[in-house]
């Protein structure tokens, strides 16, 4: 029971901190999960990859984390605690917005928060890269994907699946 409360508290906090989207809390999530819930960096990156393959919001992968830690109940608790607090805040902000409309301060705060969330996203890239780019093969896969996503219109899921399959073949062959 205390494990579930701990999970709920952790993900509710991450939910409220996720300014700029889920990627902004990736490094924090990774650190907390490693220190407090025994999910190591490799597991975390594997689970993150599953989220990338899923349709809908990529951060739904938090369900797998909940499942790993406390089974189906854990997945449910994580789903509620990760999506409810931020959604409630947004809901009330939407209603306030409809009452007050645009003010110069609102625009300022948004402009100010944008670079912070991009900085946090960069930290997210760094955290995931540290755990997933572990050899020359994985480095090449990451760079090729970066290039393909930025320069071509190929569906990202196909790029990821292709490079996952290709990488698996290479690693299996070299082992």
């Amino acid at each position: 029971m205390s494990l579930l409360i701990h999970l709920a508290w952790t993900f509710a906090l991450l939910s409220i901190l996720a300014v700029g989207g889920g990627t902004a809390v990736l490094p924090e999530m990774q650190t907390i999960l490693a220190h407090q819930f025994g999910i190591d960096h490799t597991q975390f990156v594997h689970i993150y990859s599953i989220g990338q393959l899923a349709p809908g919001p990529n951060m739904l992968m938090v369900l797998v984390i909940g499942y790993q830690i406390a089974g189906l109940l854990g997945a449910g608790v994580v789903l509620l605690s990760f999506f409810l607090p931020s959604s409630l805040m947004c809901f009330y902000m939407g209603r306030l917005w409809n009452r007050f409309g645009e003010s110069p301060w609102r625009r300022s705060i948004q402009n100010a928060l944008e670079p912070i969330s991009i900085g946090l996203m960069s930290s997210g890239v760094y955290a995931v890269a540290k755990a997933s780019v572990v050899s020359s093969i994985t480095l090449v896969l990451a760079l090729v994907t970066l290039y393909l996503i930025l320069r071509t219109k190929i569906n990202p899921v196909l790029v990821i699946l292709g490079s996952g399959g290709f990488g698996a073949l290479l690693m299996a062959y070299l082992n």
Partner: protein
Amino acid sequence: MSSQLPVNTQLAKSPNLGDLFIQFLTIGAISFGGGIIAYERILLVEKRKWLSADEFMAYLAISQTMPGLNSVNMAVLAGDHLRGVLGAVIATLGLILPGSLFVLGIGLIYANAGDHPSINWILGGIAAAATGLLAAITYKIGDTHWRHVKSLAIIICTFVLMSIFKLSLPYVILIMAPISIYLFRPGQSQ
């Protein structure tokens, strides 16, 4: 013919809950590889005309400013706009249901076979590619911020506090938010 127009407009503005659910469920099921906001815009503004382009932009701004995933926040706001509290709940549930079932299915397999070497190779390869994808998305979302000195300085300071000094996230925000809001206060140029 013309007498029916107001009726149609009325219908377009208040979809029934079932339709709202199905539309967001569809987005949740087909929006692979990010870019959900784009799908939501197509549905809300172009396909069903449930929101005007202006309303969509206003809700997008709130979605991005508030914590939480932008696509989920958009579902909350659009759902509330169209059908109140129940609409917000229904739209959000529709959006996250397909992906939730998907990750739970794969997660189940992973939890039971995560030690198998081939699973490790495949997920290892996918993880490396996902890192490339994440870098690309971050670069794209950063857009013009990468070229503005003020924005770039904030980005770098945030990154250094978070990744190099390894401060915890609440502290990073407590330090950076006041500085950044001061720099971007009303009346300042970009």
